[in-house]
Structure formats: C-alpha cells, structure tokens
C-alpha cells in the first residue's frame, strides 16, 4: 500500500481493521476545528472542550458508519455540530427553539460602516492584541446562525459546500449569512480597524 497508508482513507481502513490507536493520528489535524465548532455553538470554554471530547469519542465509536461520500472533516463537523446543539438544548431547556428556525429573512442593516480616516493612521499605531480581543468578542456576540457560518467558513476555512452540508442548509443561505456576518463584524470593528494598516489587495483569496 505504501503512501496509501498515510492518507486518510488508508488510516480509516486500518483503524477499522483493528489498528485502533491510529485514530489519534486521524483526529489530530482536526482537533482545533472540532473545538472551534463546539465553541461557536455553546460559547463557553469548558462546555466546548467537554463537547469536543464527546464528539471525538463519538466519531471513534461510529467510524464504521463513515461512508466516504462526504469528506471526513465534514462528517466530523456534523458530529461536532450535533453535539453542540444537544448541549445547548440541555443548557437552555426545551424552550430553546431550533437554531435553524431563526429566519434568514429577518430585517436588518447589513451594510458596512465607512472608514473615513484610516489612511492617516500610521503603522506604529497597530494594536493587534486589542483588535484580536475585540474580534473575539464581536464574533461571540453575532446571532447564532451567522456566527456558525462565519466560524466554519472564515475560521476553519471550510468551503461553501462543506459548510452547507455540515449545517444542513443550502449554499445560498451560507453565502447570505456569511455576507451578513462579515458586514456586522466590519461595522462593529471599525473603531479598532482605524488603527490597522490596509491589507494588500489580492492577498486574501480562496477556492470556492
């Protein structure tokens, strides 16, 4: 088999055939993703870590049901999302409505905020630490449906299809929610962004 054994499908086959310890290697590249997915839903460090452990254990126990028609990362994300939603329901009681029932059509102002004086701010004024803190807070405070899409797309860098599949929504909804999330964050962070040098155009791009 040679190099085949180093890839994911090969690893999975070997784990299922009995080399169970290899699951450590299979999961390692996705540890961060699992945690962040949980955190995007439960918004609490301890809950997110417990949930991440549960999700990984669940993935281990049910590995044989992974069909390989989706990417392993998408399958794992779905498990993480379900784990997060379960925890959220438990924490908030039966009164918690389904996350997906929050409508996309809600009226809102999703326009960005203009920055008028950002070009005059010198590079030395960069205070990335402060900006990072502000960004964390702003993301945590996004409405659930927007935060979840934003985290999968822009934090975990999953593509539109993968994000749609993991959340059980259509790709169009992913685009709409992502746009709104980004605009809300832009607006919220403008006071901090004024101290940030503009990024070089064309630097940030990724495949669909």
């Amino acid at each position: 088999m040679g190099t085949m054994e180093t890839n994911e499908a090969g690893l999975i086959a070997r784990i299922l055939a009995g080399e169970k310890e290899l699951f450590h290697d299979l999961i390692r590249p996705y540890e961060r993703m699992v945690y962040l997915t949980l955190f995007a839903i439960v918004k609490n460090e301890t809950e997110a870590e417990d949930g991440a452990q549960e999700a990984v254990i669940s993935a281990y126990r049910h590995l044989a049901s992974f069909r390989g028609d989706a990417k392993f990362s998408t399958w794992l994300t779905t498990i993480a999302i379900n784990q997060g939603r379960r925890r959220l329901r438990k924490a908030k009681g039966a009164a918690e409505e389904s996350i997906e029932e929050q409508a996309d059509s809600r009226e809102g102002d999703f326009t960005p905020a203009p920055l008028t004086d950002w070009r005059e701010i010198p590079l030395e004024a960069l205070e990335r630490k402060e900006l990072r803190e502000a960004l964390r807070t702003a993301v945590a405070e996004l409405p659930d449906i927007y935060r979840q899409v934003f985290v999968l797309r822009d934090l975990e860098e999953q593509n539109i299809e993968e994000t749609a599949q993991a959340l059980g929504i259509n790709p169009g909804a992913v685009k709409v929610r992502l746009h709104r999330a980004r605009m809300m964050l832009q607006k919220r962070l403008v006071p901090f962004l004024k101290t940030t040098a503009p990024a070089r155009r064309g630097f940030f791009g990724r495949a669909l």
Binding site: T116, L189, P198
Partner: protein, 89 residues
C-alpha cells in the same frame, strides 16, 4: 456599468471569495479604483478575515489537546475488549 457604493457593498463578500462573475468583478474593480470609501471597506473586511484565520486570535484552552488524547486513549483501551470499532453499540 457604473455601480453605486451600495451595490458594491452587497457583493463585497462574494468579491472577496471570488465568486462574482467576471463582468461584475470588472465593474467592482472599476468602482474601487476611484472610490476611497469602498476600498477602505474592502480592505477592512479583508483585515478582519486575515485576523480571524490567524491562530492567535482564537486560541484553544491550554492542555486541550493533551486532555483530548488522554480521554481518547482510555476509550481505545476500553474498546479493545469489544468487537472492532463501529460495530459496537
């Protein structure tokens, strides 16, 4: 076609993701060339995304990975006395 700012804002996200069609892309670029406001909005949005993807922005709890693998190790040990993975339960 001459786009107004609001029209550009509506497509900023797709423009960043490179999912706008070629024609619209060209129109947006044309607009950006002489619109400081939209350029600033685009750059600031991109900065947010760069910062978001930076591992230092969203950090994992200290010891998270170690605890995860310890838990997993216990689970794997336990499952060794059971049929192959996936056939349990």
């Amino acid at each position: 076609m001459n786009l107004d700012c609001k029209h550009v804002w509506e497509h900023i996200s797709e423009y960043i993701d490179k999912t706008v069609d070629a024609g619209l892309r060209k129109d947006i670029e044309l607009h950006l060339e002489h619109c400081e406001i939209c350029s600033a909005i685009l750059d600031s949005t991109r900065n947010i995304l760069i910062l978001t993807a930076d591992d230092r922005t969203f950090e994992l709890p200290v010891g998270y990975s170690k605890r995860l693998h310890e838990r997993l190790k216990d689970e794997i040990e336990k499952s060794k006395h059971e049929p192959p993975v996936g056939e349990t339960k």
